[in-house]
């Protein structure tokens, strides 16, 4: 049984301009002790997936369907974190359970009050102790009025179930600071006195200190310069070896994910378009690749390409408007296959491709590969 198993997760949000389908049927599975990288451009729903897993989507309607099976350490019964959905979400019969973007949210009703109550019941025992999240911005994610040591102490206390004497707490805090390569004296500093990299290391220490089973790292290196990024990567690698932690690593940086992840899932417009072990995703020569993954890999900046082409390669056109995603395969307006072949384009416009199994652990969502 996997530590985390997400099935058909949908998270929609109603805005003044219409319904945004942030996460639209995501399936993921994360075995214990492994790292799953979730990559994609900005706005493709990576962060919303993370927030849905940890139950922190507070907008209407938020998570509306799907299952999030989570197996806490030392228990054999997996827990469905999205169980309250069963009783709180009603989809109008007329819409056949499917909601298209132009349909109003009236098709769907959700008992937000009850959902919030039941969700907080489920997550009360999990957040911090079993599930932890590292947020994007380390500087604002720390309380400016607390010393960082005190904030780390909170997490250590949670890890010990609240019962720990002061001496031991101080020792633990000191140890954690050393583990993330910071001097013990840093404990008495305030966040504004530290650099972004130091703050991020403290954030990582905080999320690890409560000894969670699953850590969701939401773009842990955004806004940090390259040397500090490499520090963070080294830190993660070391901690992975040391503690056998399970990480869901979210990033738009293929380089970071390539170094840390065992498996990589590529996300586009709220859907997973390709899942495979790291080496298969990064294998540029393989034919069974989603064109979006190829384009992403292509756009990793390198001096060689710059010298050859004179400019860095990019993915053609913009990310589609989340309010009106293109029909069929959402990538077709930017896809190389489609721009070369008009008939293929019509085909891609008509239907949403399903996941095709290429080999054991490699799944791709592309009609072109479907056809082969």
């Amino acid at each position: 049984m996997n530590l985390l198993e997400i099935k058909r997760l949908r998270t929609y949000i109603e805005t003044a301009r219409g319904l945004v389908r942030c996460v639209d049927g995501v399936d993921l599975s994360l075995p214990k002790g492994e790292t799953l990288g979730l990559v994609g451009e900005s706005g493709c729903g990576k962060t919303m997936t993370a927030r849905s897993i940890i139950g922190m989507v507070d907008d209407f309607p938020g998570v509306i369907s799907g299952e999030i099976w989570f197996l806490p350490n030392g228990s054999d019964e997996p827990l469905n974190l999205a169980a309250p959905l069963r009783d709180t979400v009603r989809v109008n019969e007329n819409s056949d359970g499917k909601i298209t973007p132009d349909e109003k949210i009236a098709q769907l009703s959700k008992d937000m009050k009850r959902w919030r109550r039941e969700t907080s019941q489920i997550y009360k025992r999990l957040r911090g102790k079993r599930l932890a999240i590292i947020f994007q911005d380390p500087l604002t994610s720390l309380n400016p009025y607390w010393t960082v040591g005190a904030q780390l102490g909170e997490a250590v206390k949670i890890g010990y179930g609240g019962s720990i004497d002061k001496k031991q707490l101080h020792r633990e805090i000191g140890e954690w600071f050393e583990r993330v390569f910071l001097p013990r004296e840093t404990a008495s500093k305030y966040p504004h006195q530290l650099s972004g990299g130091m703050c991020q290391r403290i954030m990582i220490a905080i999320s690890l200190a409560s000894k969670p089973d699953l850590i969701i790292a939401d773009e842990p290196t955004t806004g940090l310069d390259v040397t500090i990024q490499s520090h963070i990567i080294d830190l993660f690698k070391e901690l992975k070896e040391e503690q056998e932690i399970t990480v869901l690593l979210i990033s738009h940086d293929m380089g970071l994910v390539g170094q840390l992840a065992d498996q990589i899932a590529v996300m586009y417009c709220g859907r997973i378009v390709e899942v495979a072990p790291k080496d298969e995703i990064l294998d540029f020569e393989s034919p069974d690749r989603h064109p979006y993954t190829k384009a992403l890999l292509n756009s990793i900046p390198s001096l060689e390409i710059l010298r050859k082409e004179g400019r860095l390669p990019t993915i053609e056109k913009e990310v589609p408007d989340p309010l009106n995603p293109p029909p069929g395969c959402a990538f077709h307006p930017r896809c190389l296959h489609c721009s070369q072949d008009k008939e293929q384009m019509l085909e891609c416009k008509r239907q949403i491709p399903g996941m095709t199994q290429v080999n054991d652990n490699h799944w791709v969502r592309c009609l072109k590969i479907n056809g082969q």
């Binding site: 947020f135 911005d137 720390l142 309380n143 009025y145 909170e154 305030y190």
Partner: protein, 329 residues
């Protein structure tokens, strides 16, 4: 060489840190320090006099009437009695009566020091109610969403539309029915009512702080760590972010409470005769106003000074805490 310079630098750093405590004090400014000095002198003198005198003037009064009257004349025996009257009205300043005597020949300074105690006690009652009500309403309106929050905010606005003195007059009617035979109860209850009805000011400030911080990244991070909303509001928001607000508002409130106590007593809605309060002294000496007795001015000045002190204490706290906040930011 390298060792040398690093050693020197270390010493220099230590020097700066040593200085900084004095610098902090200097940063207060001479005016502020003088202000604090006056504050301590003012209340120290009054309260010292009150504490070393007899805490219950009425008992002492009875006791001393049995003793010989000469004993009380000597300062060695303690401060002059606040209720013992001499035949001479409005005596001038003398070694025996530091600020002269009032319209019934009672020692003005002793009475002022007893009045200082009364005003502090009543002020504290107002303050405690103000804090309890203000913080709990503020937290409630910050924590609840939707209907409950609107209800609380409407109540705030409703209370804010009433003139507070009018509310207090209405409260007098009710309180007098409830506690007919307790002399000091009326002013205590009135101060509690005053504290309660001024609490929306504090509540609004706290609500604003909670509302603005609720969506910040570090509160989100605290939620993801599994802290409950109550823990987050009390530990992360109230204690660290609202402390300056609460302290400053408290100092301001104390001044207001003293002023209101004096006003109510002067208008005959507060304390009554055997008890001693500044407002009451002003009322009973009202006859002296027209004849220009300096004693009346002294009482007025004392009231004005104490309110001024508390309002300035608010400003001082505000500056001090704001500068600390700047350091933190």
């Amino acid at each position: 060489m390298a060792k040398d310079t690093s050693g020197r630098r270390f010493r220099q750093v230590a020097l700066v840190q040593k200085e900084s405590a004095w610098r902090r004090l200097r940063a207060l400014g001479i005016c502020r320090m003088v202000f604090v000095g006056f504050f301590v002198l003012f209340y120290g003198l009054f309260l010292g006099f009150f504490v070393f005198g007899n805490a219950d003037p009425h008992q002492r009064h009875r006791f001393e009437q049995q003793e010989s009257e000469e004993a009380a004349l000597s300062l060695m025996m303690g401060p002059p009695d606040p209720v013992r009257s001499e035949m001479m009205k409005y005596q001038p300043v003398s070694a025996e009566h530091w600020l002269g005597t009032d319209q019934r020949g009672r020692d003005l300074f002793t009475r002022l020091s007893y009045g200082a105690w009364t005003s502090l006690v009543t002020g504290c009652i107002g303050l405690v109610t103000f804090l309890l009500a203000g913080i709990s309403f503020g937290v409630a309106s910050g924590y609840f969403k939707g209907r409950w929050r609107s209800v609380i905010i409407y109540l705030f606005n409703l209370v804010n539309t009433f003139p507070i003195l009018l509310l207090l007059f209405l409260a007098v009617i009710v309180i007098d029915r409830l506690f007919e035979d307790e002399l000091s109860m009326r002013i205590y209850m009135l101060m509690a009512v005053f504290g309660f009805f001024s609490s929306p000011k504090l509540a609004e400030l706290i609500r604003g702080k909670i509302a603005s911080l609720k969506e910040t990244a570090f509160i989100n991070a605290a939620v993801s760590l599994g802290l409950s909303p109550v823990q987050i509001i009390f530990k992360h928001i109230l204690w660290y972010e609202c402390r300056p607000i609460i302290l400053v508002q408290s100092a301001y409130m104390m001044g207001q409470a003293i002023l209101v106590e004096t006003t109510l007593t002067y208008l005959n809605f507060g304390l009554e005769d055997p008890l001693i309060s500044w407002g009451l002294m002003l009322r009973t000496m009202a006859g002296g106003i027209s004849t220009g007795k300096f004693q009346v001015l002294v009482v007025m000045a004392v009231i004005a000074f104490s309110v001024f002190f508390f309002h300035n204490l608010a400003a001082l706290l505000n500056d001090l805490l704001a500068s600390r906040q700047r350091d933190v930011d």
